[in-house]
Structures are given as C-alpha cells and as structure tokens.
Symmetry: C2
Subunit: 411 residues, 2 copies
C-alpha cells in the first residue's frame, strides 16, 4: 500500500470511531493528508500519532483542555513534538485532556466500554491508542495522568525519570513533578518512541537482544497501600507466571509519600496556574474550581516538608527496592470505573512521581469485568533504559501465557 | 505627587535615556499609562518594572531576543509576571535579551560606559536598573545570565535555588539549570521582589530586624579558579571591611564542575532549542549558530557524567562550605569588558548554577576603571531566606564603609 492509502485507512478509522469515542479535540483530515505527504523518513515514519492538548503545536490549536483560551495557536511545536515529527510521526490531531491536566474530565469515553472513564488526564491519547486510532502518542503526568489512563485503556505507557524528556511547551503544573509520558500499543513500540523522545537510539527495540533472549531479572512484588477496595488479582495473575518475583516489604515511610506529593503539587500548582485562576476563573469548570481551591491551601512550609520526605526516601531507596532493581505493583486499583464524572484514583502512581522513579504500565489482560488492566513496573531514578528492557521481557512472558489486552475494535 | 505624575517622571526618564541605552525592546508610553492607572495596591504598588524578553507577557510582544518570531504575542503572562503585577508592579516594557538567552548580544550598552557591554543575557533589565529607568525587574540564568550583568551594571540580583520561582512561560534552555533571576537596585528592594516571586512574605525587608541589628554571620572567602586575568581587588576590599571572613579552601573537585555544567547545558539545550534550530536557522544570528553547533556536540553520556559530578559535589557540600553558611566570591572576573561583541565570561557563576546554590550579587563600589563591581554571596541549596538576610547585612557594612556603586545619571 502507498503511504497515501495507509493514511486514508487511518482517517477512515477515525471517522468511523471517534464520533462516539471522542478522543480528539482537534482533528482535520485535510491537514493530516498534507502532513503525511511530507513526513520525513525515520524511526517513526508514517506512524499515526496523537498529542495531548496541553502540549503546544505550531499548526494545530492548543487549548490546554480548557475553554479559557479558545482557538489558541502557539508559534512553535514543543520540542518533544518536534522530535517525534522529525522522526517521521504523522500527527493525526490533538487529543482530549482534562482541564489543564487536572481534575475536570473531557468528553472521551473508554474504548472498551463507553459507560466507563478512559482515565485521565491523558484521556484522549490513551483512548485513541486503545481503540486503534493511533499507534503512538504523548501524555503528561504530575500524579498518575499517563500510567492510569493507559492501564484503563489496555495500552503501554511510560512515566520517565525527570529531565530526560524536554518539557518546554507543555502547560506546567509542578516544576518538581511534571513529565511528558510517551504512550504506545505495546512495550516495543513504546521503547522506540521513548528512544526518539530522549534522543537515545540505544533504547530502540532493534538494539535489544532478540526477544527470546531478553533476560527476566528479579522483581519485588510490592503491594504498598492499605486499600480494601483494590483488586490485586490481575497483579497476582501476572506475578504467578513471572519467574523470580518475591514479595518486597513496604518501608514504614512509604505511605506518607502520598501526602508529601499532594503538598508539593499544591504549592507549585498554585503558582503555575495563577494566571489562569485569577484572570479566567469564570471560564473554568467546577471541578477545576474545586481543584484550585484545594491547591491554594498549600503552603511553603508544607512544600518544604514534602520535599524533605522525598529526600529522606531517596536516601533509603535500598530499603524500598531490597535486592531487586524493579518493583511490580498495580497500575491502578482496578479496572476503569463506571461513569465519567471522575477519571479514577492515582493511588498507585503519586509516590513514584514524587520520587522520580521511572515507571511503565504493561498491558496485563482483562479484569473481572472484562476491562483491560495493567501492571506497573518501577525502577530506581535514572534507570529508564534498564526498565524498558525488563518491561519488554515481562510483556513477552505475559503474552506467552495468554495474558494480554486484545486490541479493541470499537464500532 | 499623584500616581499619574510619578508615571510621567519615569516615562520622561526612559524617553531621555533609552534611545542611547537601548535597554527596552518593547516600550509603549500609552500602554504604560494605562497599566499604571489600574495597577493594584500591594507590596510593589507603582514600582516601574522591566521583564526580560524571554519571559512571556499577555499584553506585550515576546520575541525571546530573536527575530525568529517577529511580533509574537503570547496568550497569557508567565506566572512570575502575573505575581509581580498582582503585587502592583507597573511593567514599563520588555527588556533586551541576547538571542534565546544564549550568546548573541542585543543592542544594549552599559549605563556607566556606552563603550562597554552591560553583560548578558539579561542585558536590558540590568542596564535599565543601572540607569535608573526601572526599580525592579526580571532576568533569567542558566550559566551566569543574571548575576554577571547585574554586577556589570552596579545593581543587585539573585539566582535562587531551583523550583522556588515558577519558570512556566519562560523560554527554556535547560530543565536542570534554568531559573528566573529577580533584579533590583539594592538588597532590600531585591528581598521584597523575591518575597513576591516566591510567595513568601516572610522574606520581605519589613520582616527583617531593623538594619542596625542585622547580624553578620561567618563567611568563607572563596577564590576558586586559576584565573590570571581576574581582578580580585574589589572582593578583597569588600572582605577587608567585613568581620568574620576567613579564607575557605577550594575542594579538588570544584574546578571540574565547570565542564560538568557545560555538558548538562549542551545536551538539554540541544533539545530545548531544537524547534528554533531546525525550522528557523536562517533567521538566527551567527553567534547563535556557533552556540547551537557547540550544544549539538553534547551527548547523553556526557550529560550523565555532568549530573554525577554535581551529585558527588552535593554530597560533599560540607567540605565546600567548611564551617560557614556562606561563601564570598567574585560576581565576575572584573569590570564590564570594553566592546559589545560578547557579554563577558560566566566563570564565577556556572558552578553555583549547576549545584543549585542560591547566590546574590551585592553592589561593591567601583573598580579600577571606574566601572561598577559586585561581590557574590553563595549559600547552600534551599537557604535562600538566610542568604537574603546575610546579603542585606553585608550591604549595610559596605555602604557604611563607603563601598557602593552610585546610581548612574546617564544623559
């Protein structure tokens, strides 16, 4: 098939499915055709790609998930978008975000069940991937905004260590916590995308040893939080087929990192969103109002205490990881909840975001309600390359055992 | 005098002096009058204020010091600009920056000698302060772009610890290094501005004990680098009148932090500037081309080594600071150099920027050529409040000894 014909297949698919999925906030077929006609060759050549609406683009409006800046058109692509385009990606459009990547959901539904949330804040990229409308895309994460929606929609995603992917041109919430989150359909596609976003060709799957020889290194099974409503059966199923998984004890200080993350977020977001809050309050959604009121209760002293708790934990990482380089934990407390008023809890994500630990969510089959579930693999800060390799090995084992989320053919 | 009358005095001053100083890249008197008429009351009420052109403003074009984005008009103020305006500051205009805050100088001259550089990259804010066209303003620093021009222009400035002032809406160079640098005419004005930018009222001078009771704590005199052309006499003069200054030995690892800063900067800037470089190359200045070519030689491995060198140093801070909480060092190797092709070396700034140590430059009289000089006071990361207090005490002692840069009456 010619490149033009391939593009038409993707456009037809979006035209058929997105009216009910609502994963795109901006999608213009003529623009996509023009972009596909000139997309350069490269590791992502021709890959249909989605960009979360909080990430700036020079040729598509960027609304930050809000109606505060209608039709706003930035003057340049965020560098991470530019890197993907230079590698050949074809941007199909801007994907739905919660307002300013915080609490107020957009219109997107879950591709596996339209009655359920796709998760958020990177709702559109996750749903478009889960429905097979794109093959790769970008989200962002400050609490659990990349890992959780990816798990809910049956796709792969990474929250990298801070500083490894450029964040300029991304609407900021927290200088300490914000990262760009690459998202894809499986771990090998994800590694390829991450290699482009990080400018590290050695992370690409071609550079990995052949599939059957990927070594599976020891992992600690980590069930950290008292959470009587969580369903750990998908994690236990995955762990049961993975060799060398041993239960890792939870340090006493781990639980408190949740409040620490919340306070770091609150104090920084009350600055980063100050302009929007003070000048555009009447245009913002009620959930955003509630979010902003909460953030404004943050104080510098609580921020300092949160940073101190993080630094204390980082000095004790050996206790957290034990003898393993990786921890295996839930990506979310369960399957995507029914309803669209909320995007689900970030309980199993916020502490890793605070610590700067890279994490991935690996598709791990379906849960009791038939919805996709993921398992989250965590590594020490900066060990992003090791993590991607281990995650590919984990995915291989899960697939060999029949544990995978089948691509959804939404109609 | 009425607020309107005060505004006219400032406007007259700019009209008289800026045609030769060239510190503003955007200044529209009618706009200033309109802003002054509605500026809220607050700690900065009515303060004439300058914003470096790499910081986005909703009502004034933001060119990032470049001709790549002519007349570009962002949709909102950077949060740090919003905080200053909410505190009552009256923005007189956008001040000249080197292109993208890197190497290519703008048109600004030094207010003490038009044949000399004002320093950079925050050239316009420093020069406008030194000439008395504004009372406060904002710069940025990735290497030495706030401290050095402030010292060259005889004014006070701070490079804060990372994360304490929001950087969203500021053109990025390096996620690790970039900070917003508040600038003012003296240490008490500077503390007031920092208190607004950091949202920490306790840093304001009103909260300091009365001048005569500010305690002067021990400082280490720190002359770190082999630099045969540097002139340390201004620093020695300042140290001679300050009690409790003892020479602090330089750790063996300190020198190498310069190369480490350079490699961290190179790898991150080759991403942050990628869009500008790849799509607007022909519009950029020759010095920017040279800068970008240098940055593109950066590698991830060298970035990792630079971060490791920083972390090694941070683990050995007690050796660096000895028994003192503060180090006293040059702000720059000497007075502002003659000529406008370069903005002067950042030799004495880059290592503190890498370490995340907060620093201030304190006006310290005139040098041998009659140009202003500053001394740089450095504290441990996060000790910004302590640093501001000590700097005010140092400034008091220097002034009592007649060591100060007289305001320049440029004509």
């Amino acid at each position: 098939m010619s490149a033009e014909a391939v593009t038409e297949v993707w456009l037809d698919r979006i035209a058929a499915i997105d009216p009910s999925l609502r994963s795109f906030i901006h999608h213009a077929p003529e623009q996509v055709r023009a972009l596909a006609a000139v997309a350069p060759k490269g590791p992502l050549a021709g890959v249909p790609f989605g960009i979360k609406d909080v990430i700036e683009t020079a040729d598509m409006p960027t609304g930050y998930g809000s109606s505060a800046y209608p039709g706003w058109q930035p003057c340049r692509d965020a560098p991470v978008v530019h890197l993907a385009r230079q590698a050949g990606a074809v941007v199909m459009g801007k994907t739905v975000s919660t307002e300013f990547a915080t609490a107020a959901p957009g219109a997107t539904v879950n591709p596996f069940d339209a009655a359920r949330t796709p998760g958020g804040s990177s709702s559109g990229t996750a749903a478009a991937l889960g429905a097979g409308l794109i093959l790769m895309g970008l989200g962002t994460q400050t609490s659990g905004s990349t890992i959780r929606p990816a798990a809910y929609c049956g796709v792969a995603a990474m929250k990298p260590s801070p500083k490894l992917i450029e964040t300029f041109g991304v609407k900021a919430l927290s200088q300490t916590l914000d990262v760009v989150g690459p998202m894809a359909r499986d771990m090998r596609d994800l590694a390829l995308l991450v290699s482009v976003c990080m400018r590290r060709p050695e992370l690409a799957p071609d550079e990995l040893v052949p599939e059957e020889k990927l070594p599976l290194k020891p992992m600690g099974l980590f069930l950290p939080v008292h959470d009587p409503v969580a369903d750990f059966s998908p994690l236990e199923r995955a762990a049961s087929v993975l060799a060398s998984v041993t239960t890792q004890a939870v340090p006493g200080w781990f639980e408190g990192l949740g409040a620490a993350q919340d306070e770091v977020f609150a104090w920084e977001a009350s600055a980063s969103l100050s302009t929007d809050r003070d000048l555009h309050w009447d245009k913002l959604l009620p959930e955003t109002h509630a979010f902003m009121k909460r953030q404004q209760k943050g104080t510098f002293a609580l921020w300092q205490a949160g940073i101190a708790a993080r630094d204390h934990a980082l000095a004790d990482l050996d206790t957290l990881f034990g003898k393993a380089d990786f921890l295996l934990t839930p990506s979310a407390p369960g399957e995507a909840p029914v309803g669209h008023a909320r995007t689900g809890p970030a309980t199993y994500n916020i502490r890793w975001t605070l610590l700067g630990c890279p994490t991935v969510t690996i598709p791990a089959g379906l849960g009791p309600a038939g919805m996709p579930v993921g398992v989250q693999l965590v590594a020490r800060p900066g060990q992003d390359a090791l993590l991607l390799r281990q995650a590919a090995a984990v995915e291989d084992v899960l697939r060999a055992a029949g544990i995978e989320a089948r691509p959804q053919q939404m109609s």
